[in-house]
């Protein structure tokens, strides 16, 4: 089931840098050391865990859960603490080594010095860009806020427009129009509604008659008018 030739040999051959013959510089060695430490830790943790005796009585699952959560949190804290402290120690040693090296005043130290200068140059450039970015972001944010404010103002204005329109309409309706005009308007309104209904009835008649209306151009023309709003006919 497992086709081994599909995998390891060919694959590994490609990785020249990783093979045992690869150049083992200090950095790689350090990295490998860290790797082995980690692996050792995991292996010993496993061994340790398998030696652990399990309690005979059944512990409630809820209890296990809360305990696990507490332990997880605690572990996370310890981890961060350990990492911070490790970082301190590593950086102390690293910087001390670097300073001592620089003082030796040889080719290596000159290279280090050059690199440092280069880093500072880049850092200055980054600091400048960062400052610019910060300022631009502030501007952008101000614009965003302004847009939001405008949006609000616009919304309020439109609301005003609509209320004004409604008011006008009301006023118009309540205005002392001649009785005659009022009557006419009502009649018109009624007629409109009637027409709409008639249009609909007509549609239904056509449907009910099962006629192929599209074949008759004039009938088709009528059919296509039946959705039009009356007020504009």
């Amino acid at each position: 089931m497992e086709p081994p030739q599909r995998e390891p040999g060919a694959a590994a051959a490609g990785d020249a840098e990783a093979g045992p013959a690869a150049k083992l510089d200090v950095l790689t060695l350090l990295r490998l050391r860290e790797q082995m430490k980690q692996q050792l830790m995991e292996c010993s943790a496993t061994v340790h865990a398998s030696e652990e005796s399990y309690p005979d009585h059944i512990i409630e699952e809820k209890l296990i859960k809360t305990t696990t959560e507490d332990l997880e949190r605690e572990m996370e804290e310890v981890k961060v603490s350990f990492q911070n402290k490790t970082l301190v120690l590593q950086r102390i040693q690293l910087m001390d080594a670097l300073r001592n090296k620089v003082k030796q005043n040889d080719d290596d130290s000159r290279l280090i010095l050059e690199t440092m200068k280069h880093i500072i140059m880049l850092s200055t450039a980054i600091l400048e860009s960062q400052q610019q970015a910060r300022e631009m972001e502030e501007k952008l944010n101000d614009i965003k806020k302004k847009r939001l404010l405008l949006k609000q103002a616009g919304g309020n204005k439109l609301l005003q427009i609509h209320t004004t329109m409604k008011k006008q309409k009301k006023e118009l309706a309540s205005m002392e129009v001649g009785e005659m005009l009022e009557k006419i308007r009502n009649n018109l309104q009624k007629e409109k509604e009637m027409t709409t209904l008639i249009q609909n009835i007509f549609q239904n008649i056509i449907i009910g008659s099962r006629v192929n209306w599209a074949e008759d151009p004039s009938l088709k023309a009528i059919v296509l008018q039946l959705e039009k709003n009356v007020s504009f006919l």
């Binding site: 981890k79 549609q203 007020s231």
Partner: protein, 751 residues
């Protein structure tokens, strides 16, 4: 078939009516006056291969045009042959516009057996567009109802699927009442509802139709399709539909795409691959909207979208009709901003809400309008489109992905324009993030995340944070940085929104829905804690990568200023897993930024404390004492590192750098105490070296301990001159300058 169509068309006086529909009517004219020529054009364009196929298709179509009643499929080989031709060409290239009239007529006339009709309908796959007239005449055939119920049903489903391919829809709108009458057929009802949903405009909503729908609902119970139509009616005319309808629903309509959708997509893609410019079976106008997918189609305002009735009254334009103020301005005529202003009181949105997204004028209008219904309509449309069209990617289609990206991009731009997120887009993200591979449409998705609306539900965790974290932990450094950047913008958008709410109205009104100030504080705090957590993990996974640290600190640059800049009583310190790696960083930019952030924290905390003393009102949102405590711990550590060289003894943070001398001695470094002051700090070494070189040009020993006393101050000035402004602000604010002469004394640092 050409002959028939042209003769038919010439009899129709209605077609050239709408003067505003320029491009389409041009096509129509072209198609009508000289169909032969366009057919030739088409043939010459993709000459050799197609010619024979075209011939056989033409033969087949003309056969169907003349076919007599009740020809048996089994016995008639000619029918078999022509049917097979139509089917194969339809699947391969799609059918040309001219073919639809004949094939629809024959299929719906009931001349042939249902088996044949079904096969014909199933092969009605458009190569480009479907002429509206052919759809109109088929609806007429439907009224005659000579064909069986299943054929009718199939036709309606076909119509829904190809809706966007119909070249023109005005006459279809005119048939609204006809479609509506088909509702009474129980089987057709769901599909007819869907079709009506696509067609409905404000003027289609009539009281008697609402009554009819309510009757149907009473008869058939609460059907999602009926509800959909009713809710649309309610959106258009809330005053006419008084019943309450359930809020958002996931899906209103069953998938009606049937056998056509896949074929249409394949042909569309094939056509585009074959010839980027010309399309084989396309007549007339070079670029047409229906060539594109649905979302892109709907981004264009169709010529006939809105109420064209108002146009009819051209001559009466100056006449103000007192009684028809409800008359609306057609959006397709909206060209300038001043037009918008003049007509803002009577604009009606187009029936295809999607077109709003690409129209800046309508967006301006949308920006102002507080009408919930507009948002609901957009919500329906976008939700439907995103749900229907998105699966992350469809294999073997880059084109598809590109188009989808464009669409997402358009949504994002609209959101930026409106400074507001869409809830349908939020739902889409929540639905798809758990299935995301983190690669497809990455930048689009992460940008859309920045506009997720602030909501008080703690759904955020399961919908956004959890899926994002899963991707975050397993993906590349670059991805991690992108996520952090997006979350920073999300935070800023929320905060901006909050500021405006505060400014606008006095508290109660500003927070809509169930967002209260304390709710908001909780949601924002949740986001900040989440970022703190993933940042800690990320720094561990990426072994404190400087690049990553930039993005994390950028996030905290917003966080540390929340109180003063956004007026929200909330300050949260970075976790120790972020603070210490930044403090111990080997990069001066990170250290400088940390200094700046701590300075801003201080400014905010001081301001908060002062305000607290002045007005006791906001006491209920007092910062937790934990924030002050953490700040003080960090400051002690920081001053202890950078200034007094006492951090290893004085740091009191439980996860800090307090270390026993014995452990420190094991490093075998003699002067370990000073390792992190501004001279010896890993991020500062370069500066110290250059300073030594400048101050003692002849001395090559690089004696770091020379920097003290007055030189210390010079060195400080030197650092400031190098652009380390954050460091300057920090030192000047947090370290008591009285005691600066004797650097070993601890300054007054606590707030």
């Amino acid at each position: 078939m050409q002959r028939r169509q042209s003769s038919k068309n010439s009899k129709q006086p209605l077609q050239v009516r709408h003067s505003n529909q320029t491009d389409l009517s041009a096509w129509r004219k072209g198609g009508r006056t000289d169909p032969e020529k366009s057919l030739q054009n088409r043939q010459s364009r993709n000459s050799q291969v197609n010619e024979s196929k075209q011939d056989s298709l033409e033969q087949a179509v003309s056969y169907f045009e003349k076919v007599q009643d009740r020809v048996s499929l089994k016995k008639n080989e000619v029918l078999q042959k022509h049917l097979a031709t139509v089917e194969s060409i339809a699947l391969q290239k799609g059918l040309p516009p001219e073919a639809f009239d004949v094939l629809l007529n024959v299929a719906l006339s009931g001349k042939l057996a249902d088996a044949v009709n079904t096969r014909l309908l199933k092969s009605l796959i458009p190569a480009s567009v479907i002429p509206e007239t052919s759809v109109v005449s088929s609806v007429s055939w439907l009224c005659v109802s000579k064909c069986s119920g299943s054929i009718q049903l199939l036709f309606v489903r076909w119509l829904i699927t190809v809706f966007d391919f119909i070249d023109h829809k005005e006459q279809l709108h005119a048939l609204y009442g006809f479609f509506f009458s088909f509702l009474q057929d129980e089987k057709m009802c769901p599909y007819v509802c869907h079709l009506l949903y696509l067609l409905t405009r404000k003027e289609s909503v009539k009281p008697f139709r609402i009554r009819r729908l309510l009757d149907l609902q009473a008869k058939m119970g609460m059907q999602p399709h009926l509800q959909a139509l009713l809710s649309l009616y309610k959106l258009f005319c809330p005053e006419l539909v008084s019943i309450t309808l359930p809020g958002k629903m996931k899906t209103y309509f069953k998938n009606s795409e049937g056998p056509w959708k896949a074929a249409i997509n394949t042909i569309r893609r094939r056509n585009q691959e074959n010839s980027p410019v010309s399309q084989p079976l396309f007549l007339g106008t070079a670029q047409h909207q229906s060539r594109k997918r649905k979302w892109n189609t709907q981004l264009v305002i169709p010529a006939s979208s809105a109420n064209t009735n108002s146009l009819a009254g051209d001559k009466e334009k100056n006449h103000v009709d007192l009684y028809s103020t409800s008359e609306s301005f057609p959006v397709e005529q909206l060209q300038t901003f001043s037009q918008l202003l003049q007509n803002i009181h009577h604009l009606e949105f187009p029936s295809q809400m999607g077109s709003v997204l690409t129209n800046p004028l309508l967006l301006h209008y949308m920006n102002c309008i507080k009408d919930e219904s507009i948002y609901l309509r957009l919500y329906y449309w976008m939700g439907q489109t995103l749900q229907e069209e998105c699966s992350w990617c469809v294999v073997d289609s880059n084109q598809y992905e590109e188009e989808f990206k464009d669409f997402l991009e358009t949504i994002y731009k609209t959101e930026c324009f409106l400074q507001e997120g869409f809830s349908s887009c939020e739902e889409f993200l929540y639905k798809s993030l758990p299935l995301w591979d983190g690669f497809c449409c990455r930048s689009q998705i992460l940008r859309l995340v920045t506009w997720i609306p602030l909501s008080s539900f703690s759904e955020m965790k399961s919908h956004l944070y959890d899926p994002l974290a899963q991707l975050f932990f397993t993906s590349s450094l670059y991805f991690k940085c992108s996520v952090l950047e997006s979350l920073k913008e999300l935070l800023q958008n929320w905060l901006n929104w909050h500021v405006i709410q505060l400014d606008s109205e006095s508290d109660s009104q500003g927070y809509s829905l169930n967002t209260t100030l304390s709710g908001l504080v909780n949601v924002v705090a949740e986001l900040i804690h989440f970022v703190g957590w993933i940042s800690t993990v990320a720094l561990r996974l990426e072994s404190n990568a400087t690049f990553l640290l930039y993005f994390i600190l950028d996030f905290y640059e917003t966080v540390c200023d929340i109180y003063l800049r956004y007026n929200l009583p909330l300050l949260i310190m970075p976790p120790a897993g972020v603070f210490y790696p930044a403090l111990l960083s080997m990069d001066s930019v990170s250290l400088n930024q940390l200094c700046y952030i701590m300075y801003r924290y201080r400014t905010n905390l001081v301001a908060a404390k002062e305000n607290e003393l002045i007005k006791k009102k906001i006491l209920q949102f007092q910062f937790s004492s934990q924030t002050y405590q953490e700040y003080n711990q960090y400051i002690i550590a920081m001053v202890g590192c950078l200034w007094t060289s006492s951090a290893f003894q004085k740091d009191i943070h439980p996860q800090g750098v307090r270390l026993d001398d014995e452990v420190l001695k094991k490093t075998r470094v003699q002067e370990f105490k000073t390792s992190f002051n501004i001279v010896y700090h890993p991020a500062m070494m370069g500066y110290a070296l250059l300073f030594l070189q400048q101050a003692w040009p002849d001395d090559n020993t690089f004696n770091f301990s020379l920097i003290k006393g007055r030189k210390w101050n010079w060195y400080l000035q030197y650092l400031y001159a190098q652009g380390l402004k954050g460091l300057k602000l920090f030192i000047e604010s947090s370290i008591n300058r009285v005691s600066r002469a004797s650097q070993s004394k601890e300054g007054n640092v606590q707030v």
